[in-house]
């Protein structure tokens, strides 16, 4: 068939205009500006150690912000990530402390280090299961994501306290060195967790933009009814993003426990705020249909850099909550202004 090939390459906005209209682009500019200023104002800011620390600190948040972004794209919210982190962190600590091995497993092949992997895998599975419970209630029983995950936030935190018996876990058995290396180790000048964040940002970015699953995640958030009429399994798509959120929270939990070398049931307390802030600052729209993994990455980076800069500038750390709150509200407000301009 004959047709005008030029029409494909044409679009309302050029790629460059699209790039400029991305919130994550402006957040990147802001981040570069802050780094630029801090470089001259505060010598210690650009030291290798400080940059390493900033990158490591925002990686824990960034990983969860990636999956939170998927949840927000479907026009949902997951308030339970901080508590899931606490509970899965405790589960990991508990099993490592007990050096637990399943009966059948210890008989079939015994390596001294196997208990480490068992603890890690159990924590990850627990994260997926908690996410699946959230997702099932939201997608299949049509309950509001706000209410379900608010409930889960309380439940998971309380379970963490019950299961841990309010104890701290820090004795991780004979192979603890191997476990500590996971979150505490580094590679080519960056913490392992930072590499993991980079990997997941790219991987999930590809999934969102280049797979049918990703397209369907956007479609569900953009117009659920239309997605359903197009034959998309909207319930499964919705449930899956909460499972991913639980899974990523558990990954973050395992990594942070391994880095700190101990875990208490307070792990991840109020982290949901920082995670949601990172996603929203990075351009995820709470109305659904908009967001990306690079935004989650850069949003987390911006917040941690500002936190670090304020600390270096000698500002009382108690102000951090105030700044965090202002950022969240400002990001949502900006979003609104931008949408008004588009319409």
């Amino acid at each position: 068939m004959k047709f005008n090939k030029d029409i494909i390459s044409k679009s309302e906005k050029t790629s460059f205009q699209k790039f400029l209209s991305e919130q994550s682009f402006w957040v990147t500019i802001a981040l570069i500006l802050i780094c630029f200023v801090m470089y001259f104002v505060e010598e210690a800011f650009s030291s290798k150690d400080n940059v390493y620390n900033i990158a490591r600190n925002f990686s824990f948040i960034g990983i969860m912000a990636i999956s939170m972004t998927l949840v927000i794209i479907t026009s949902g919210i997951d308030l339970s990530v901080g508590s899931i982190m606490g509970l899965t962190g405790i589960i990991c600590g508990l099993f490592l402390d007990a050096q637990y091995l399943p009966e059948w497993y210890s008989k079939s092949a015994f390596y001294e280090s196997n208990y480490v992997w068992v603890g890690i895998v159990f924590a990850l599975i627990a994260g997926i299961i908690i996410g699946a419970v959230n997702g099932y209630l939201i997608a299949y029983l049509n309950l509001s994501s706000f209410v379900v995950t608010l409930g889960m936030m309380a439940i998971a935190r309380s379970l963490a306290i019950v299961v841990s018996n309010n104890k701290m876990f820090y004795e991780f058995g004979p192979k603890d060195e191997m476990f500590f290396k996971l979150g505490g180790g580094q590679f080519l000048g960056l913490a392992n967790i930072t590499w993991l964040l980079i990997f997941l940002t790219i991987l999930m970015g590809l999934v969102l933009n280049y797979t049918t699953y990703g397209k369907h995640v956007y479609a569900v958030g953009s117009n659920k009814k239309a997605a359903e009429l197009a034959g998309i399994n909207i319930r499964w798509i919705e449930m899956s993003v909460y499972m991913l959120s639980g899974f990523f929270a558990a990954i973050s939990a395992v990594m942070i426990v391994s880095w700190m070398g101990s875990v208490t049931n307070g792990l991840g307390y109020t982290y949901e705020l920082r995670v949601i802030a990172a996603s929203v600052i990075g351009g995820a729209n709470l109305m659904g249909g908009v967001g990306g993994t690079y935004g989650a990455f850069i949003g987390a980076a911006l917040m941690e850099t500002i936190r670090n800069s304020l600390l270096m500038a000698g500002i009382d750390p108690n102000w951090q909550g105030t700044f965090l709150g202002i950022f969240i509200v400002a990001a949502v407000w900006l979003e609104k202004v931008k949408n008004k301009k588009n319409n």
Partner: protein, 246 residues
């Protein structure tokens, strides 16, 4: 040849009788106009054919086979495409992504299957060209005019080679110039041998493109005749109830 045959279709929502004993046929490459006042049951009838609702009673035959569609996807697989009243498009996706929603073209083998954007852009550009629409595949639906959105919704129906296209108020809420575009699109479907059931309460649309007129009043069929044997005055009378039935 008869494509679709509705036989004594009835539908009630609890105590509401939305459709009462409606029968009519749609032939190959025939455009049937379905008219009626608000709440007459037009959308309900369309949704019964498309598989959104089950009829309370009656038989639907599609290409001489009795069919029972439980979900819209089943009617689509049989060769019936639908343009819904509210269009059912995703604003945040491109025109091409909307055309292929739920039917994306992929490349590679699992787990390395990825979207074949070039093919989808090309195919949707061809469809828009065929529909003589200026819609560009890479534009977001959010920024589009009513006419362009209609073109996207109609292009969706051309992905496969359907036998029958159902359209619910495709000319509501668009400008006059765009109405002409959409009517042209509908004629082009007919030229391709596709049958169309067109719901509209705009008299000129129906009389411009349709071969046959069916009128519903309070869920009952009060008219089923060739458009050339009818007139706008008669149609108006039938819709309002000034004329009981013909």
């Amino acid at each position: 040849m008869t494509i679709l045959s509705l036989q004594n279709i009835a539908k009630n929502f609890g105590a509401i009788q939305a459709i009462v004993d409606v029968s009519f046929n749609i032939k190959e490459a025939e455009i049937v106009g379905l008219m009626g006042d608000n709440g007459a049951g037009k959308s309900t009838l369309l949704k019964i054919i498309a598989g959104n609702f089950n009829p309370s009673s009656g038989v639907i035959k599609f290409e001489d086979q009795e069919v029972h569609f439980e979900k819209p996807i089943e009617s689509r697989e049989a060769g019936i495409e639908v343009v819904y009243q509210d269009l059912a498009l995703c604003n945040h996706l491109t025109a091409a992504a909307n055309v292929f929603l739920g039917r994306e073209i992929n490349k590679g083998i699992w787990p390395f299957r990825y979207l074949d954007y070039p093919s989808m852009f090309k195919k949707s550009a061809e469809l828009f060209e065929e529909l003589k629409s200026e819609t560009r595949p890479k534009d977001l639906v959010m920024q589009m005019s009513g006419g362009q959105r209609q073109a996207v919704a109609i292009a969706r129906t051309r992905l496969t080679n359907p036998k029958l296209v159902l359209m619910d108020e495709p000319t509501a809420a668009i400008s006059v110039r765009q109405v002409v575009e959409v009517l042209d699109l509908i004629k082009r479907l007919k030229d391709n041998g596709i049958s169309v059931l067109l719901i509209s309460h705009r008299m000129p649309d129906i009389f411009q493109v349709c071969d046959k007129l069916v009128v519903l009043r309070r869920g009952e069929k009060v008219c089923d005749k060739l458009i050339k044997h009818s007139s706008t005055e008669e149609a108006t009378g039938l819709i309002t109830g000034a004329i009981d039935r013909v």
